[in-house]
């Protein structure tokens, strides 16, 4: 019978018992006795458990499995064996040495708690935080919002710059006058809350965007490729919609709020950081989808009041749709990951709206339209 020295703690007091441990392989028992112990102890080998993640070498500490109520599911008694040969033999023959015992009903508890946590986080992300962002966006003092918008525009300028030097702002006087004329036509009948500040950037991208505080930027590429002044008016009306709905400010606030919560969920670690970026991306774009539809509605309303045809906007959507299908490869991005609702849907909406309109006149004269198109010259 294999023998080794060890220390035994009975789990009742902190007193140490020096013991001699004997391994009886025939009966499958580990027995030990010592001077300070009243009776010989017998532990069944299949109940023997090794404490997890101990440093190797030296001694090992064992415990005994019982139906215990505490976190470990093992008896409070501990046995430390300091004999290498004995420890090696025990590792070989004790069948459940490394079994991790789990309380019954743990699975159900996990499911329930997980469901509650997900529900609470979703409530926060999709109900409470948006409502807060709404309020805060409305609370933000106008000057600060305008300042914030300038910072955003400066950032975009830096982002889209090509080569060296900033993107130029186009300021041909005739073009500016035409732009102002378009703005007045679109906003005269609307109840405007913001004072608009519309700029044209000398950049080939076909795009326009609204920054916080009433600032709108149109890229030259949009003026180049637009089929008519009405198309530009449609896009501009859409961006005015974003401005009046405070979408940019609200989006920023909402992202700031949810970023904290999301990083709380995923933890602050390399694995988490990746997940946070992904999750935020999805959240951010889902906001814009809803906001885009609202801005479209606003645009159609503005066009209606200004008696400008929606046909121009519809043609522009057709054009964007053409661009989309020309994208190389069959890498179809999932709809929810895209920041704009499908253009076909938007084109149809604008077109059917145009059908319901009464008499319309073009937003700009031909001369003014060509002045606007050459605003960057």
């Amino acid at each position: 019978m294999q023998e080794a020295a060890g220390s035994y703690f009975d789990g009742l007091s902190a007193a140490k018992h020096k013991v001699v441990v004997r391994l009886d392989e025939a009966t499958g028992y580990l027995t030990f006795e010592g001077e300070s112990l009243k009776a010989v102890q017998h532990w069944r080998l299949e109940d023997l458990r090794l404490l997890a993640d101990q440093p190797g070498g030296g001694w090992l500490t064992f415990t005994r499995y019982t139906e215990h109520e505490d976190e470990t599911l093992s008896h409070e008694a501990r046995l430390s064996v300091r004999d290498g040969a004995m420890n090696a033999r025990l590792r070989e023959i004790a069948p459940r040495l490394k079994k991790r015992d789990v309380h019954r009903g743990t699975g159900m508890r996990v499911v329930k708690t997980l469901a509650a946590a997900i529900a609470a986080v979703c409530l926060m992300l999709f109900v409470i935080l948006p409502a807060m962002a709404d309020t805060l966006a409305r609370m933000m003092p106008r000057e600060r919002e305008v300042q914030f918008g300038r910072a955003v525009i400066a950032q975009v300028k830096w982002f889209v710059r090509r080569g060296h030097g900033d993107v130029a702002v186009c300021e041909a006087p005739d073009g500016l006058a035409a732009l102002k004329q378009m703005e007045v036509r679109l906003t005269a009948e609307m109840n405007m809350e913001y004072e608009l500040d519309i700029q044209v950037f000398d950049h080939p991208m076909v795009n326009a965007f609204a920054a916080p505080g009433g600032q709108i930027v149109i890229m030259r590429g949009l003026l180049d490729d637009a089929t008519s002044a009405d198309a530009v008016a449609g896009v501009l009306a859409h961006e005015i919609g974003h401005v009046e709905n405070r979408d940019a400010t609200r989006g920023a606030l909402r992202a700031a709020g949810s970023a904290g919560l999301i990083s709380m969920v995923f933890g602050d670690f390399s694995g988490g950081a990746l997940a946070v970026v992904l999750a935020e991306q999805m959240l951010e774009t889902s906001y814009t989808r809803e906001a885009e539809a609202k801005a479209d509605d606003y645009a159609l309303e503005a066009l209606k009041k200004a008696e400008v045809s929606g046909e121009g906007l519809a043609t522009f959507f057709d054009y964007v749709l053409g661009l989309e299908s020309e994208l190389p490869g069959a890498l179809e991005t999932p709809a929810y990951l895209r920041s704009h609702p499908p253009s076909l849907e938007r084109a149809n909406k604008a077109r059917s709206f145009a059908g319901t309109q009464g008499a319309t006149t073009s937003v700009l004269s031909d001369a003014d339209w060509s002045a606007l198109q050459s605003i960057c010259d």
């Binding site: 703690f9 009742l12 997890a52 501990r78 430390s80 996990v110 946590a117 409530l123 409470i128 670690f269």
Partner: protein, 392 residues
């Protein structure tokens, strides 16, 4: 001064074992998008706890990853609701409802709303810190007997807020008061088995440990004053003062720790002596940082050479393979850095603290009996959610 009846702390963890454990668990955390982090932390604690021993008997950490995970989920629910409710209450009283403030009072209310939101988290962080310590105590055993800590997280949060405020208002002069009282609050609620810890001493005694902090501040002030006359001399003094202040704050913590240990008792007769050394800790910090930087740069250089070579000769297929391999290695590299700091800084420091701790009158331990299992602990879920607490 070690005698027959003393126990000297020992640490037997090794670099390679801890590194392997930290690396593997970090990788698993990465792969599971962070979910494994509760198990990772638990396993590292188990390793570190069982590496600490006294009188040849190892400590044991009995916490489980599962209970930590569940505690975290509960904390998320509570926190989401807590923050949500605070918003709603403010909302209800119209504090944040002002679209455009027209009067002074409305502006003040608006600002108040923003700050209430911000400070609503502070008591929670202290609350979480106490709960985390309580959980760790409840899951720590030595010689099979549990440690434990009484409830009192809200009391702690309240006091911590008050003392922190006092420290800020007094420009740090009352820091020893805050440190002493908060440490005493926790120590006086701590148990080993059925024996209670007791923290004695006076908070004013901690000022002796502040000596070098004061010297550093004095040098800074003198430097700034002199800089008006001689920029160079002033700059030198400011830099020296800054360095002095940093070393001085480590000195303060070390000597505060010594004082607190010397005045702590367990039960009727067990006492403690702690003798950590400022120089040793700075050496560990300095050498550890140097080693980590060295390894990091070494790997970065070798990696860029290998991949640079591959890209230079490589066919397209080889390039793709190299790209994928590079991405994987890059992630492994990030994971490794966190494991390295655990191995080269955290573990050596811990080892120093443990081996410099002596427990006197060890026979007093033999009469200590087991305490009941603690089931109500929340497994420090709040600390996890709020990211309170360190590497393990």
């Amino acid at each position: 001064m070690s005698t027959e009846s003393d126990i000297q702390g020992q640490y037997r963890g090794t670099r390679s074992e801890l590194f392997n454990l930290a690396f593997v668990t970090s990788l698993l955390t990465l792969v599971t998008l962070g979910i494994y982090r509760f198990w990772a932390k638990t396993r590292i604690r188990k390793y570190i706890w069982s590496s600490v021993s006294g009188d040849g008997d190892a400590f044991e950490y009995t916490g489980t990853g599962m209970e930590k995970f569940l505690g975290f989920l509960v904390a998320i629910v509570v926190l989401a609701i807590y923050l949500g409710v605070i918003q709603m209450v403010l909302f209800f009283f119209g504090i944040s409802f002002v679209a455009e403030p027209t009067s002074q009072a409305e502006v003040i209310m608006m600002i108040a709303a923003i700050y209430i939101n911000l400070f609503a988290l502070f008591p929670l962080i202290f609350y979480a810190a106490y709960r985390a310590r309580r959980y760790k105590m409840a899951r720590t055993r030595w010689r099979g007997v549990r440690f434990g800590m009484e409830q009192g997280a809200w009391g702690f949060a309240l006091r911590a807020c008050g003392y922190t405020l006092l420290t800020i208002v007094s420009l740090g002069l009352l820091a020893p008061l805050a440190n002493f009282k908060l440490e005493k609050y926790m120590a006086d609620r701590s148990w080993y088995g059925d024996a209670k810890f007791e923290q004695g001493g006076k908070w004013t005694k901690l000022y002796a440990a502040m000596l070098h902090v004061f010297i550093g501040i004095a040098l800074l002030i003198v430097g700034i004053v002199i800089a008006q006359a001689s920029v160079f001399l002033g700059m030198v003094l400011v830099i020296v003062g800054y360095g002095w202040l940093i070393v001085g704050s480590i000195y303060y913590r070390v000597h505060a720790m010594r004082y607190m240990a010397a005045n702590r008792t367990l039960g009727d007769e067990v006492t403690f002596t702690a003798t950590p050394r400022t120089g040793e800790l700075i050496k560990i910090l300095f050498l550890g940082s140097l080693i980590i930087i060295g390894i990091t740069f070494g790997i970065a250089i070798v990696g860029s050479l290998v991949f640079g070579g591959l890209f230079a000769v490589g066919s397209e297929a080889l390039m793709i393979v190299a790209g994928v391999l590079g991405a994987i290695l890059y992630i492994a590299f990030l994971v490794m850095i966190s494991a390295l700091s655990l191995v080269f800084i955290v573990q050596p420091m811990l080892s120093h603290f443990v081996t410099e701790l002596t427990v006197h009158n060890k026979d007093g331990l033999n009469t200590i009996s087991q305490r009941a299992a603690e089931t109500g602990v929340d497994a420090e879920g709040f600390a996890d959610a709020l990211d309170v607490g360190g590497a393990f």
